[in-house]
């Protein structure tokens, strides 16, 4: 019987090298692959292109999630929808130390899904006529203005699920799914961390959100911070 299970986060990201393009699931702190992010920080990987809805999250005076990677100068380019989520990104951006590609949140999700689904590009009304449409092809469809958007993929996707099995099947909890399912489809190598790792057959086959075909490596996360009291 095959298994995709790895013993820990550092082992699962062993071949993530400098310059890698990485997608990170999560919205704010919900559904972020916090163990894989910590391992990547420990590993010291640099010159990263980061694709994620936020470049980390701020709670009170502290910043969590991806923020330490930015603070440590490991990220050369960020693609996402909500960069103002952290002060550290703002500081780096204003100092010209990180490149930004701003994408509307729905277009971000759809571009990632398009990559995973073998779609060569698509038209949306979102953003037509606004500064975010600059440089993009525009087309009138049924009398309305649409803009052309390209698929968005990555070398690696780091995703987080609540439960998973050793075939890579994943189940998310509450709003923890967010970008994780689309990102799992869109990367050369998808690495999933889960709170509970079970044997195949334990998860209800009707209630699997991400079929194992999209997941190449899976591990039980070492530690889950909860942040809220």
């Amino acid at each position: 019987m095959i298994t995709k299970a790895f013993g820990g986060s550092l082992g699962a990201i062993h071949d993530v090298g400098d310059g890698a393009i990485i997608m990170f699931g999560g919205f704010g702190l919900a559904g972020i692959p916090q163990n894989l992010i910590r391992a990547l920080y420990e590993k010291g990987t640099k010159d990263l292109t980061v694709i994620s809805n936020n470049p980390g999250s701020r709670l009170g005076d502290s910043e969590y999630g991806l923020a330490p990677l930015f603070q440590a100068g490991r990220v050369k380019k960020y693609i996402g929808s909500y960069p103002t989520a952290t002060r550290s990104f703002k500081t780096l951006y204003e100092a010209g130390k990180v490149e930004l590609e701003l994408v509307p949140q729905g277009t971000l999700a759809e571009r990632i899904r398009a990559k995973g689904a073998g779609i060569g590009g698509f038209y949306v009304r979102t953003g037509a006529g606004t500064p975010l449409a600059e440089g993009k092809e525009s087309r009138i469809i049924n009398g309305e203005q649409y803009i052309f958007e390209m698929p968005l993929g990555a070398d690696f996707a780091f995703v987080k699920a609540y439960r998973g099995d050793t075939y890579g099947n994943l189940v998310y909890r509450y709003t923890g799914a967010n970008f994780n399912p689309a990102m799992a489809m869109a990367a050369g190598v998808t690495i999933a961390e889960v709170e509970e790792l079970v044997e195949p057959g334990v998860l209800d086959p009707h209630a699997i959100h991400t079929p194992g075909i999209f997941v190449h490596r899976i591990l039980k996360g070492e530690r889950y911070d909860r942040w809220y009291e």
């Binding site: 919205f27 702190l29 999250s57 949140q105 999700a109 998310y172 967010n178 399912p181 909860r226 942040w227």
Partner: protein, 214 residues
């Protein structure tokens, strides 16, 4: 009593736009106050674009779960009959015209219903889901102060802030009044207590259609 509506009254007025059974997206900030303004005999499905239809209120102290948040990253609850889903399906709901109503804040609204609510000149820009909502939701209600902190009109002939979407706002609710965006212009529908049509006209940067006297 000071003239005009306070935030609580504005949220209540916005809630009156919601019909029984509606699916409603609430922007971050003041629009989230609408959550607590729904009478118990109405069933409303609040949508949060990070993947929940059937959001309840904010999570009571001690019950917050890091994986259960709204679009403003605040811990929330969910109602019986709710569903959780991924961002791609969530934005299909928005872009595909399935959400009945969105209630959003704004920096500016033009007389044609153009909306500016994502960034200002010189600001580090963030967009989130605002443009997807502007492009896809059937009916958009803007909930905002009538003027900026330094008294400049936010309802204008033409946007000077970067646009979020065009001809997408249906109704504007401010502390001073309720304005409907019609094909012929901005219709001053209701005045807040203690506010005159003159007060509104003075603080508005676009022409207004006054309702016929009854």
């Amino acid at each position: 009593m000071t003239a005009g509506m306070n935030e609580q009254e504005m949220a209540l007025r916005a809630a009156a736009e919601i019909r029984d059974g509606d699916c409603v997206n609430l922007g971050i900030g003041m629009p989230t106050m609408v959550l607590d303004c729904i009478p118990p005999d109405k069933t409303v499905f609040f949508h949060t674009e990070n993947g929940l239809l059937g959001m309840g209120g904010f999570a009571p102290q001690g019950t917050a779960h890091p994986d259960l948040v709204d679009a403003g990253k605040q811990p929330v609850t969910y109602i019986r009959g709710a569903s959780f889903f991924a961002s791609d399906l969530s934005f299909a709901m928005l872009r595909g015209g399935h959400i009945d109503l969105a209630i959003m804040g704004a920096y500016q609204v033009s007389e044609k219903g153009d909306l500016a609510n994502w960034t200002a000149p010189g600001m580090l820009p963030s967009i989130g889901g605002a443009m997807d909502i502007a492009a896809g939701v059937k009916r958009i209600v803007v909930l905002m102060s009538h003027t900026t902190r330094d008294g400049q009109p936010k309802i204008v002939r033409q946007l000077s802030y970067p646009p979020t979407g065009f001809a997408c706002v249906s109704l504007i609710i401010t502390n001073l009044c309720v304005i409907e965006v019609t094909h012929t212009g901005l219709l001053l529908k209701e005045l807040a207590h203690g506010v005159s049509a003159g007060d509104v006209i003075k603080n508005t940067g676009a022409g207004l259609i006054l309702p016929e006297k009854s």
